[in-house]
Amino acid sequence: MVGVMLAAAGSDAAMVLAVGREFSPRLEAFGALEVSLDLDGLARVFGDARTIAHEIRRTAADRGLRVRVAIAGTCTAARLLVRHRIGVTVVEPGGDALALAGLPLDLLAEIAAPQADAAALGTDGDSRGVTAAARPASTPAPALHGRAGRSAQALGLSRAQSDEQKQVQALCHTFRQWGLRTLGQVAALPADDVAARLGQFGVEWQRRARGEDARPLVPAVPEERFEQALELEWPIEGLEPLSFVLGRLMEPLSAHLERKDRGAAVLHVRLHLVTKTVHARSLELPTPMRDARTLRTLALLDLESHPPGAAIDRVVVAVDPTPGRIVQYSLLTRPLPAPEQISTLMARLGALMGEGRCGSPAPVDSWRPGAFTMRPFAPTDEGPAVEVSSALPSVPVTALRRFRHPVPARVAAERGAPVRVTTDRRGLLGGRVERAAGPWRTSGGWWESEWPGGARMQTPEGRGAHGGAGTAAVGVDATAAASVTPAPLLPPSQPWDRDEWDVTLSDGATYRLFRQRDADAWFIDGIVD
């Protein structure tokens, strides 16, 4: 026995669900205003089907809802009936086909689009004075979690239903062209002939016209809150006592996640401070995880970097759940560390080295010297795992040790080629140039700012030095220079124009030099090592 409750347009969707849950835990929502209830076994509690229907309607009215209720042998029959008849409709067992026989054909299109027909209910005769059904202010609204996610899901679902509704409307149009007007007439058609002319889709909707369900009821599982909170008798200060509190909260939270086979996608920590403010932190986890120790460590490491400003009165820990992780190990490759381990390591390294100092390097599509970007370190098991000899070049490739701040240099040049290099940097004394190759001229980024001419160069000290007269000249020709120019950094928006040289000095080392052409200044870019 299935009951369907359809609320008037403008009703609170959460309230409709709440009323449904008061009668049966096995319910399925069709859109925002229609709920299907599995009523088997309720007769012992409330009485016969008609009593149950009236009880549902009365409870809904108590909550400020105007609803229609239909009870039939199948969900489809109840959904069709509830749209056609006002108030309460109860079909005795076995009477579905008869009850549906006289209903208009267009109801089929309506059950394909629950949102649309709910709105239609607000304009029909029964809903007069019902559209503005408002929830009393005193009635508490049930909490809905993950509402945004549900909305997105509902959006995709309603789009699919809209497509189906169009197909059903076309089907109904065909039936009307055949002279059929009621569901009973459609139900009476020979199924073989319907299949021959309208395909499986036609047969499926002919079964609906007979009141048969296409699928069993799929109970809606209420979203669970994964949250733990603790009121502290005395405010605590410092992270050490907080770690014990977090551990106490994480254990049941982790157990709850494990029971439900869920993992935490985002970890929220809210600290209610004695100053009546809330210190909230959210950690997006790279993979779903539920290990209590890992979650506690991650939260603590984050709070070490972002400590609360006052003593803590109340601690709330919540997670955004996501389906648990399924790991398939390989017999042939070495397993990677678990994501929990990597997350913990990255959090510890981040606390030690600073934000954004740890990750995987990645080249960028640019000729800008030394350009790179950082990505989160998240290795996957789908590695190359190929033979070394086939994947690597047969001989090693020389490496460059690049100075992130190029070292200003004094360069003596003859006919444009460097012959002697010295610097003020301790350990980089320089010397006579024994071998040199160059220049290789590169430039770029000039289209992104005022260039050439008085282009601004960013200096490590943050000053803007203008090329030309404003810069101390260091590029000299056959004579020693007096001073050096601050090293240029190359932020992504800055232009560059340089001549590069590879030089081996008398100290035995090979350097990558460049001459900044606008300032005629020399720098050591790196060391070949």
């Binding site: 001989v395 460059l400 040790r401 100075f403 490590p460 070949v528």
Partner: protein
């Protein structure tokens, strides 16, 4: 019978890393299977190293500037990441050139790059703090486990600063890495840890050039002489390794 029982007991203690509690001198437990080494994919060098750098030990690449230390390290990292392992590089003074690392064949997605802070002048307290952070990061990575190769670049740190490190620094690292599948590599101007179980590769290299005329000359690579020293593992010898210059870096 007694010898058999003693051997079983010693074996059990060794499996749990408790063999140091024994008062008798045990023969070194040396793994000889291929998975106990991290090869470079260079036939001559791997043969000299008996398959590669030993896992669970601290090895070193030492040499002067432009001797090819970083080039050889890139090769080991490239081989490790191409095998599907993950590797970590602690860049004490933030000197990594991403383009040349990629040109060397390193799978960058499998490389954890821990960047120190680039300093205009690496000296004094600032340098000591940077060095301290880098060694702490090394300890964290080694203790986390799961990495095939972990390297720390100390090549540009002045030797004076390295000598000021507490004497037990590398011993602690050695104890942390012992028994794991991680090969730990220190890159420095001279041997630092001198681990008995690891190997020390001392490099002597010079850059090679092609073209005699000024206009046609270009850097063609680095010719290295790699001297392998490891008395305990009884490997040794000198291996020539030639590296070619990267293009577009």
């Amino acid at each position: 019978m007694a010898n058999s029982a003693l051997a079983t007991l010693e074996s059990a203690l060794r499996a749990r890393n408790l063999d140091r509690t024994l008062t008798t001198a045990l023969p070194p437990l040396e793994r000889t299977d291929p998975s106990a080494y991290a090869p470079a994919g260079l036939t001559d060098l791997d043969a000299c190293l008996r398959s590669g750098l030993p896992r669970g030990q601290v090895s070193e690449l030492a040499g002067s500037r432009s001797s090819g230390r970083l080039t050889l390290l890139w090769r080991f990292l490239a081989a490790a990441t191409r095998r599907g392992e993950i590797a970590a590089f602690i860049d004490t003074l933030d000197r990594l050139d991403v383009a040349s690392a990629q040109a060397a064949g390193i799978d960058l997605d499998r490389l954890l790059w821990i960047r120190g802070h680039a300093m205009a002048r690496a000296e004094g307290d600032v340098l000591e703090r940077a060095l301290d952070r880098a060694i702490k990061a090394l300890s964290l990575v080694v203790q986390a486990g799961g990495f095939g190769l972990v390297a720390i670049d100390l090549a540009d740190v002045p030797p004076v600063a390295l000598k000021r490190l507490p004497f037990n620094t590398w011993l602690r690292v050695q104890r942390a890495v012992e028994g794991s599948d991680t090969a730990c590599v220190l890159v420095g101007p001279e041997p630092l840890a001198r681990s008995a179980g690891g190997v020390t590769l001392t490099l002597d290299g010079r850059t090679s050039w092609t073209g005699e005329a000024d206009r046609s000359r270009r850097l063609s690579g680095v010719d290295m002489q790699v001297r392998v020293v490891s008395p305990r593992r009884r490997v040794g010898g000198t291996v020539p390794v030639a590296a070619t210059a990267a293009t577009g870096c």
